[in-house]
């Protein structure tokens, strides 16, 4: 890739990351946040690949879109189940 194509691509990737990070922070619903975070992870993958680090991009692809969402999903399910139990006890 020449510098003429690389600089616009880098700008686009940086802009996506800059938009994606606040989008994750400002999603209020945890389940929506997981999906938005996955998309943010993909924008980071794009950034890594464009900046010449495909190895890091490959790791980020799986960690950001598979492993991390799973862990958060489990945490949410656990917390909700516990909240449900406590409500049952109060009744």
């Amino acid at each position: 890739m020449t510098l003429a194509t690389l600089v616009p691509l880098q700008s686009v990737a940086l802009a996506l990351v800059a938009l994606g990070a606040p989008a994750v922070v400002f999603s209020r619903d945890p389940l929506k946040m997981i999906v938005v975070n996955g998309l943010y992870g993909l924008s980071l993958v794009l950034l890594f690949v464009i900046y010449g680090a495909p190895d890091v991009g490959l790791s980020m692809l799986v960690v950001g879109t598979v492993a991390y969402p799973l862990v958060v999903l489990v945490a949410i399910a656990r917390v909700r189940a516990r909240e449900g139990d406590e409500e049952d006890d109060e009744e």
Partner: protein, 245 residues
Amino acid sequence: MSRRVRIGIFLPALAGLGALLVWSYTGLPSFGDYQGPYGFIVNRIATPLRHMDNAVNATTYDIRGFDTLGEEFILFAAVIGVVLLLRDRGERDADEIEDDTGSDLIRVCGTLAIGAAVLVGLWLVAFGFVTPGGGFQGGVAVASGALLLYLVAGHREWSAFGNETLLDPIKGIGGGGYAVIGLAALVGGLAYLTNFFPGGVTGTVWSGGSAAFVNWAAGIEVAAALVILFAEFLQAYIVPIARSS
């Protein structure tokens, strides 16, 4: 704590952190302006000396192989930690939970994606010294392909595959294999993890010498470790759902 006090603490902290970040970023060398000698040395010796095109993996699995062994055991220990925390809390009944997806589209696309992900993963490991990828990335891709089985077939089919009696030995063989390949060099009178095989043919699967086995050992360990991790988390996820239904 009132909102006012919290903002009163937050704003100076934000300003301080922001100032430090700006200060440190302005002092960074510009992008691609690499000064140190080691990157240039590795780039120069990786292909002629080791028959490897991918200088990143030439570094991780060969030139600094011992550091990577340490990283492998960080993952190893982390997964054991998760297993100790989550496994065996009277939740065996989770194996019998039916939670099949109702969608044929997910089943068809998911089944195709399993094959694709596992194939891409194996390809990434096999060509670790030729193209970007290697044991860690490939192993992670294989494990995510296995996780798709849960999406396609539900927890019962998944738990037949993602079970510890099958995976624990594989994980051990991967992690131990790495260390044993290092020891093999010691037996031959060389330093630990010395690359003792000829480099093979540059640009093919048969490149990298004994570091190729180290790469495969890492791939096997990472894949098994992540499938164990997914299995434990899925079990922790599925049990509360099953109880509430």
